[in-house]
Symmetry: C2
Subunit: 278 residues, 2 copies
């Protein structure tokens, strides 16, 4: 891993690394906040934050306000990119397909299959790489995310319970089988067989695989994507059906922006800290 930048923050260090990914076959950038404890070499619980459409590592790193609570709890905070990028990587003119829109799946369809392997990257390669290179406690990794990244958090945690021990999400896409973003992306990446989509639909996974822990979801009521794209009530129903312990907070007045995320980031970091420590 090549260190691209480093700045002290909240007694720790906010770093950005670049590394060659065997999953995507490209260079990938990833932001890593190390609290003071990690700088001293202590193994630390670690929270992955998966970002939404159009984002890179940078959005949550500069706007999310995670460093303060991560420093308070002694947690490492990881922000991966949302897709492979660069020359030779397929793309689409739309913001919701291709670069910046990996949807945290391994694409099987052309032109995406060569590089768009974001499930392998986030759930297999990156946790291993980080645990080898940094004081990431591989037995204490949690995952959260926003919008498309909330979909990523929910689906990857249910598909990889050996990797992700705690789970929350901000305004996640909960039911891609039943929303335009999901139809478009999963159709493009996985083909038209809806049985394949169901393996990456949080509502379906809640019923088919469940999750052994409890889940926190925060959702703004003034979020313009709420009714058409996000549908938290679908996931709420699936969790009740599956006996999953879900805390769903529908928050009056909040929208889909980082003003919303930064307001509740402290609660999410605390949620994971309570479940990953000890």
């Amino acid at each position: 891993m090549q260190l691209i930048s480093n700045a002290r923050a909240f007694g720790g260090e906010q770093r950005v690394y670049r590394h060659r990914s065997s999953s995507t076959g490209t260079d990938m950038d990833v932001a890593v906040f190390l609290p003071e404890e990690a700088l001293r070499g202590e193994l630390c619980p670690t929270l992955f934050y998966l970002s939404g459409l159009t984002c890179t590592w940078e959005n949550v790193t500069v706007k999310g306000g995670a460093q303060r609570p991560a420093a308070d709890h002694g947690m490492i905070f990881i922000a991966p990119d949302t897709s492979p990028r660069g020359e030779g990587v397929a793309d689409d003119e739309a913001y919701d397909l291709g670069q910046g829109a990996g949807f945290y799946v391994n694409a099987t369809q052309e032109p995406w299959a060569a590089h768009f392997r974001m499930e392998d990257y986030v759930a297999r390669e990156l946790p291993k790489l980080l645990a080898e290179s940094l004081p990431v406690d591989a037995d204490a990794i949690g995952v959260t995310g926003h919008s498309m990244g909330g979909h990523g958090a929910l689906t990857l945690a249910m598909r990889h319970p050996d990797v992700f021990r705690s789970l929350s999400a901000f305004a996640p896409i909960t039911n891609p089988l039943d929303c335009p973003w999901g139809h478009k992306a999963l159709g493009a990446y996985l083909g038209e067989d809806r049985a394949k989509w169901a393996e990456h639909d949080a509502c379906e996974l809640a019923r088919s695989r469940g999750f052994r822990g409890d889940i926190l979801i925060d959702q703004g009521q003034a979020d313009g994507f709420l009714e058409e794209q996000l549908k938290p009530w679908a996931f709420d129903a699936a969790c009740r059906e599956a006996g999953i312990d879900l805390t769903l907070r529908l928050l009056g007045g909040y929208d889909h922006s980082y003003y919303f995320i930064s307001t509740f980031m402290e609660d999410h970091v605390a949620w994971h800290a309570q479940r990953l420590f000890g």
Copy 2:
């Protein structure tokens, strides 16, 4: 004032307004965070944050982390732009002159004199306008700022003690009479008479006018601009000479970025709250 955007954050609202400025003769955008108390109509202590070179209202608003402590203390947080902008407004190709680099003075030299009247705008027009339009307590306004904006905070507070009651700064330019940024900007805006520059030099103002309150300055030791441009020890010496109660924290490892600012924003908001309430 025309409301450009509005998002709920930390129980309050993060707004951006556009208004016609009689000082600059242009439209100006200004970011306003209103805590819950202000939304209920209660008069609130208010902190102005003056930004650095190249910045607009947006940098601190999305990266500074001020909303959480402002909400905790019940304070309004104001982020003005750093210069007039738009067609017909003079500019320079360099980042440190013209648009984005107003230096919080009233320019007397061409081509700047027509619009670059940032002292009038920030210290006279904006406090009055905000107190007329919003629950800003005009008797409880403090000022802080970063780099060029730290220079603005220090000089405007000492030049307008009737407006600004409390004062702090992040990595301020303290001695523009003795640094390249200061020579370039003050020479361009005020002409070659150095006696005019001295009226906008924090070190000179400390000796000539003083400040009735105490002052907090935070400065990162790994700041690449420290020795050539910022020179906090010059201001430290001036304050001792003038009997001004300065707290200067030289912080190991921190740089000039918003990672530094966001780390210590909470302390600055608390500093002003302690001095403006009651």
